[in-house]
Symmetry: none
Subunit: 406 residues, 2 copies
Amino acid sequence: MADMRNKILVLICDGMGDRLTNGYTPLEKAHKPNFDYLASQGILGIMDPIAPGIKPGSDTSHLAILGYDPYKYYTGRGPFEAIGIGMEVKGGDIAFRCNFATSTPKLVIKDRRAGRISEGTSLLAETVNNLEIDNIKIMFKESVEHRGALVLRGEGLSPHISDTDPHRDESSVLEAKPRDNSLEAIKTASIINKFTRLSYHLLSSHPVNKERQQKGENPANIILSRGAGLVPHLPSFEEKYHLRGAFVAEVGLIKGIARLVGLYAPDFPFATGSYDTDMKQMILTALKLLEEYNIVFVNIKTCDLSSHDRNFEMKVRVIERIDEAITPLKDFKGTLVITADHSSPISVGDHSGDPVPLLITGDVRKDIVNTFSERAAARGGLNRIRGIDLMPTILDLAGYAEKFGA
Amino acid sequence: MADMRNKILVLICDGMGDRLTNGYTPLEKAHKPNFDYLASQGILGIMDPIAPGIKPGSDTSHLAILGYDPYKYYTGRGPFEAIGIGMEVKGGDIAFRCNFATSTPKLVIKDRRAGRISEGTSLLAETVNNLEIDNIKIMFKESVEHRGALVLRGEGLSPHISDTDPHRDESSVLEAKPRDNSLEAIKTASIINKFTRLSYHLLSSHPVNKERQQKGENPANIILSRGAGLVPHLPSFEEKYHLRGAFVAEVGLIKGIARLVGLYAPDFPFATGSYDTDMKQMILTALKLLEEYNIVFVNIKTCDLSSHDRNFEMKVRVIERIDEAITPLKDFKGTLVITADHSSPISVGDHSGDPVPLLITGDVRKDIVNTFSERAAARGGLNRIRGIDLMPTILDLAGYAEKFGA
């Protein structure tokens, strides 16, 4: 086995932080000897993924945890929707969130969600993918149900244009309009308007829609766009830290962000993003990757699933399964970080702005806390830091920090 | 004795913060009744000199502790190298790090370090000090071995020029080139090129070099420059805080920074910067200065020395000697701060980004911590602050803060 002493493993238990249900958090209720053993060997604290009380998305929190200030680099839902469904976007692209909708030939929207279409969207998407308008490459990919994302790539584009989505039925499709007087915005609006009309032209006669109409369902015959955003130019992780990194992630959004900063983040069939995911295999894969990479991140999604389901007992069970999965980490000799990207309280059923517990083992000032939980961590030796402070902290502990000054 | 109630004494134990060696930090192992007594009388916390995980230099950390944001005022190694060796620089000067090197008459570098020359450099330096080229004053001073610093003073200069140091042997001396199109950069590059040729002219026939050549040693016959930086225009301490301050420091860099912001910081022969320094005398001098000044800083270097030597036992002994030296502070009636400018863990042998312990006595919310150590401080009532927050905190406690708002 490779020498792990200056390797870094960051385990992010998605949505693990919680509030109290009948007086306890799921972490406090779970039987988790491995988490607690690691707590007894390390230093703990609480971490605001963004800032106190700010309710993070998984995108903004992961940017911060990777050391990219989300206030600088988070450029809206469009780019991160495209990233999340696995589109290969790059810095400078313009991305939009989209709906398949049902339109009349006069471009009046009858149903913004095309009957919440659930089948055939990948065939429809192929029809409007890989187009070119005025030398600009157009990429489209379907997401779940009627949703999708659109990416424009080429010279002289701008995200400063308005939506074509009228945001209600029985309204005309809107003309995208430039939001400033730049040639780039004028050009981008023009391309989007051409694309919208072209999508109606290409989709209205598509076999999937013919079949829907025969079944009395609303055809998905136009694509509405909204939330234009510039895909940020991020300095790569290797440029920024001079370290080679990898990410074992389950869901598209996290893999997409990892790839956007140049981390090695392949698809692993055992990392499903559902309750059936193989967490033990994820941990073993991370350890294997550390033989080649300096730092490996892991995002395990299961806690967040049970929080969105508001299922306290399930969250406790999931934590106990993660505890089982991390058994090999008890012997890890490098710098180990265990934390969450945000809290997802059962009482909220969604993300919250509560800080998350943070545990670091390695060459650290081991503190008196011997339990891994939100409230125990708040008494730990790290006190309270922010997500953006995590990378400098662990790089320093692992011996990679460069001196600021002399 | 003067009324000390609104006086402030800030004791900076350079590099005192540490990590664990066999389970304990040097502070935890030391017998230090005075530190612990003061802890029992005060409020504690941990402080990130710059920000969590950022590994500070002594220069950047002292700027922050004095209340000057290092991200704004730290302008590179050149100026702080010159400050560190005791050159009297002022805002607007351009400063460079330099090497004595061995050159051929055709200005090809044979040895970038002139045989790591160790004697005679002050005589050589005199020869190229206090010159004037194109109405610009040129100051040069030697540092240790082949090193030195160069300062240009006058109107119309710029730090945006390239190095003359080729950074390897058997290469020609580089022409300094302007890095932008400003007249200032063009002029500064021209002066540096003239100085470089002049240094060869003045040094190659110098008796020190004649003697070196007779002994078969490489002559130190040219000065190479690098890392041009603008000496920052810092608002003076008195302007900024309306308080008169002094600094009892041992080493050039700290005295230089203190003088740059207008603090009274003379040379004290008993403050040597080595293990033989008289720490008790430093404390007594600070107390004496407080009769005249509102605030006095003290920097004691010994902890950092033992950390760079990676000598745990020596660091423990040094802490015990500081404890002895601070006996008179038990009766101090004003606001007393005891902290460090950065951690220097034995396990690292250099500065680190770990937070430092911070103790304040005076009109404070005395907490339950009765021990002065890194881990005890992390449980204190101040929690975790940054270096830049220290001055506002202590000015407020000592009654000097101005209200922000009404």
